[in-house]
């Protein structure tokens, strides 16, 4: 399983904040105890204000977990050494058309393509189709008003080779579909059924139609004009293949009007550098047909376009909520200062400088923000692992329906914490400045 490093920038920012606060609090001789006691004495208002931060933090955590989950899915789907070839100008596999006659040399001509033990190029010829499936009336989904679903069907020439190229295996108990791609109907029907491999996610989704947690090996379902049988379940969790159905290419194509050609060719090279070389070679040197080659990493990065659009919308919502929350915390702090004018006067007379008072009230706001932020993060983190569906696309047509899990990781924690502390800084600055400007004798009068 891939691990994802913590963003150094985020870590740096939060670390800087923390060090600054600690240095200022202790070295600056700030009357922190006084601030802490005030938070406790006025606990109702403290709790209400902290809750505002908590709600913003919780919502932001869930939204960022959604975006993070999508990013992890697309990153996890890409094999660094793979090169994906589409027809020139195709913005998505759905719009690509590689006529085999013109492109069969694509697996032999390019450099760096690895070979298997039998000397065959590690090349996966694929036909990607999106298909409409009526949801059975017996399904709970149908009763909820969902009458159709879109399924991603991938017609494969050689499932063993394709799985090897994509780094997938079968769960125990399954088998690759046969060369013919069909077998006798296990339910005794007179027509043969088409053998398929299912991603784990789509197996679960289709399992609900028949009241099972997931379709299993040997289960059948209707799709188009034929019946299909599950031959195996792919170890596809965390990849876009989780929502796909793999079947023999010819059978898949014939059933859905794509009798000839392929949409995609994926070539395996040794590593990311070799993949880049091969992709460049194909785009510039392969003249037999107009193709567009890129590394799988680049291809899946482009699929993050819709994810980036979601991120922009979420950030805009979060910013509006943050500004609202900032006004709320300003209210609290202005009220706190106006009630503690005499305290401020006494502190000034005791010798505390203006900047120390500024820091004191500033830190009080940050403390409320920190408490609320941590509570919100804890609540939002409960969403970690929730299964969601969405669309991953390049924003130029097409797109894949994907199943992924909301992912709350350290980056999310650091990012949300930074955001909340930022709210605290903006919300606490003006009230702290107003406290700093109070004159000692006037405040005691």
């Amino acid at each position: 399983m891939q691990t994802f490093a913590v963003s150094p920038r985020l870590l740096g920012m939060v670390g800087f904040f923390a060090l600054l606060l600690v240095a200022l609090a202790f070295l600056g001789r700030v009357p922190l105890k006084y601030n802490l006691r005030n938070l406790v004495v006025r606990w109702r208002v403290t709790v209400l204000t902290a809750l505002v931060f908590a709600v913003v933090a919780a919502l932001l955590t869930v939204m960022m977990a959604f975006v993070n989950g999508m990013y992890r899915l697309t990153q996890g789907s890409a094999q660094p050494g793979n090169v994906i070839v589409l027809s020139d100008g195709a913005t998505d596999e759905l719009f690509s058309n590689l006529a085999y006659g013109d492109t069969s040399d694509l697996e032999r001509d390019p450099p760096n393509v690895l070979r298997d033990e039998e000397g065959r190029p590690l090349a996966s010829w694929e036909l990607y189709i999106v298909v409409n499936q009526p949801i059975p009336e017996s399904s709970p989904l149908h009763r909820k008003g969902h009458h159709r679903r879109f399924l991603q069907l991938r017609g494969i020439k050689d499932p063993v080779l394709s799985a090897r190229v994509h780094g997938l295996q079968l769960h125990p108990g399954g088998s690759w579909f046969s060369r013919a791609g069909v077998r006798d109907d296990p339910d005794g029907g007179k027509d043969q059924v088409i053998e398929v491999l299912l991603g784990e996610g789509i197996a679960r989704a289709m399992g609900t139609d028949v009241g099972k947690p997931s379709l299993a090996v040997g289960d059948t379902f209707e799709l188009g004009p034929r019946r299909w049988v599950v031959s195996g379940i792919l170890t596809s969790a965390g990849t876009t293949f989780d929502s796909e159905i793999w079947a023999e290419r010819q059978l898949a194509g014939e059933k859905f009007g794509k009798e000839l050609g392929y949409t995609t060719l994926v070539l395996r090279t040794a590593d990311a550098e070799k993949a880049k070389e091969t992709a460049t070679w194909l785009t510039t040197n392969f003249k037999k047909s107009a193709v567009m080659a890129q590394t799988e990493t680049e291809y899946y990065e482009k699929l993050n376009e819709t994810n980036k659009q979601f991120l922009v919308v979420f950030v805009i919502v979060a910013v509006f909520m943050a500004v609202g929350g900032v006004f709320g915390v300003m209210n609290t702090m202005f009220a706190a200062i106006s009630q503690r004018i005499k305290d401020i006067g006494v502190l000034r007379i005791l010798g505390f400088a203006r900047w120390q008072l500024l820091l004191s009230f500033f830190l009080e706001t940050l403390l409320i923000a920190l408490i609320g932020g941590l509570i919100g993060l804890a609540v939002g983190s409960l969403a970690n692992g929730w299964s969601m569906t969405s669309i991953a696309g390049s924003g130029m047509g097409g797109g894949k329906s994907v199943v992924f899990k909301l992912t709350v990781d350290l980056n999310i924690w650091l990012g949300v914490l930074t955001f909340i502390l930022g709210m605290g800084i903006v919300g606490g600055l003006l009230p702290a400045l107003s406290a700093m400007r109070l004159k000692a004798l006037e405040s005691l009068r």
Binding site: L51, V52, N132, R148, G328, N331, S390
Partner: protein
């Protein structure tokens, strides 16, 4: 019809709205008649202007976001709601996405597969063929892409008995001058299929103007390039600002030319018809026509399906159901909770500062419920006022000044506008959150004990 006229008519249609409007009217009358408490509330709010303004701003911001979110959700819910009259049905490939049918389906489908007496025809129809391309073959980018809807120009818009008739939503809402220009442009497109109309927003992205000629290199019809494409008009910015329309004859002729040039049909020749829209008067007619089409032996390669547009839209939105769920439930609940908390903080602070004042009011003869009412009144005035103001601001700015907000991941929808109903949302949200947030502090104010307060003072 102006928005005010529409609002008044809609009030008459909807009992809930009528009740709400009546309550507002009664409240306003009561405030005018019992103006002294209102003056007291206003003076209380004016006593600490900073706090009042901050609370109003915070509430307003949250109402603004909720209004925008609810506008999108409201529009999506409307798009997926089944109508009972003047339905639009959509005919597509039964199994495959994108839908690709042979063009010879166009004629019989437009007639609703009418084949024998007893069958019925739709009241109108429209075929859709999609032609996407780029102006720069070597470097296609989002900016130089153009996506044409290839259709019969007269189906985009025509006049019958002086009335604008169109299968496309919103065309009849265009300004009269834009309608006249559109009508003229469509007639020109019928005379010469090389002429096209492109939306103003797309023209801006392409860096082209009306009157220019372009070449379009297709990405979904490989090896087909349309030269001498003359831009003779533009859809105004807004709903159709990103769209482009071409006479379907241009595409069909290009496919014939391909066959002549290469000696074989284009690979997409039998897959060029993408959708057919049918207009039917009611659900009964829809069911009849859907049955005619799906049982017809003429549509077997490929098979087709007939569904209402709302059902089709619903199927597409299914992929976004989880995202919409997050926004609709955790999102909106969080925002409403924040509003309540902000108001609660403000009112709590205000009540705590004015305990002596509450005690004096009690001594003067105000009952506990009067004090409860005064505090709740403050919160309600603040909440309703900022809610209504913000919702009105959102409606005016987003709907009328901006023409709606386009969401890129819902690109096939027109820009999302804030409906006039948003004014009720703002009022309701402000009132609801004000009551929820201020009830506990108001109850605490109600329970102030005069003796305790004066004992502390002495």
């Amino acid at each position: 019809m102006t928005p005010l006229e529409r609002t008044l008519l809609s009030l008459a249609d909807d009992p809930l709205r009528l009740a709400g409007a009546s309550a507002v009217l009664i409240a306003l009358t009561a405030m005018v008649y019992y103006h002294k408490p209102l003056v007291f509330i206003l003076k209380s709010l004016a006593r600490n202007k900073v706090r009042t303004v901050l609370t109003a701003l915070a509430t307003g911001l949250f109402v603004f976001v909720v209004t925008l979110v609810w506008s999108v959700l409201w529009f999506l819910d409307l798009a997926t709601q089944e109508k009972k009259k003047d339905l639009k049905a959509i005919v597509t490939d039964r199994w495959q996405i994108p839908s690709q049918m042979p063009f010879e389906y166009a004629g019989p489908l437009s007639e609703g597969a009418y084949s024998k007496p007893g069958d019925i025809r739709p009241t109108d129809s429209m075929t859709w063929q999609f032609f996407g391309g780029t102006l720069e073959k070597e470097k296609p980018t989002r900016e130089n892409l153009v996506f044409f809807f290839c259709m019969e120009p007269s189906k985009v818009m025509r006049r019958e008995n002086g009335k604008v008739v169109s299968m496309m939503e919103g065309i009849d809402q265009l300004e009269p001058a834009d309608l006249d220009r559109l009508e003229k442009g469509l007639k020109m497109m019928e005379e010469d299929p090389r002429r096209v109309i492109i939306g103003a927003d797309r023209l801006k992205a392409l860096n082209k103007r009306v009157g220019e000629t372009i070449s379009v290199y297709s990405f979904n019809y490989q090896d087909i390039t349309l030269d001498d494409v003359e831009i003779i008009g533009a859809f105004p910015p807004g709903q159709y600002g990103q769209n482009a329309v071409m006479n379907r004859e241009r595409l069909n002729k290009a496919l014939e030319a391909y066959k002549i040039q290469y000696g074989k049909p284009h690979p997409m020749a039998e897959k060029t018809l993408n959708l057919v829209w049918l207009k039917v008067p009611d659900t009964e007619a829809y069911n009849k026509i859907a049955g005619q089409i799906e049982k017809s032996p003429r549509f077997t390669a490929p098979y087709v399906k007939c569904e209402t547009i709302s059902s089709g839209v619903g199927a597409f939105l299914d992929a976004y159901s989880d995202l919409l769920w997050i926004v609709r439930y955790p999102g909106v609940i969080a925002m409403v909770a924040c509003m309540s908390l902000v108001i609660s903080v403000a009112i709590s602070i205000s009540v705590r500062e004015r305990r002596t004042e509450m005690a004096v009011l009690k001594v003067l003869g105000y009952g506990p419920n009067h004090i409860l009412g005064l505090v709740l009144g403050e919160a309600l005035l603040l909440g309703c006022g900022s809610g209504l103001f913000t919702a009105t601001f959102a409606y005016v700015v987003v709907t009328h000044l901006m023409g709606g907000i386009p969401l890129p991941f819902f690109a096939w929808f027109p820009p999302f506008k804030v409906p006039i109903d948003a004014l009720w949302w703002g009022l309701g949200l402000g009132a609801g959150t004000a009551l929820a947030g201020s009830f506990v502090p108001a109850w605490s104010a109600r329970s102030v004990k005069v003796s305790e307060v004066f004992a502390k003072i002495s």
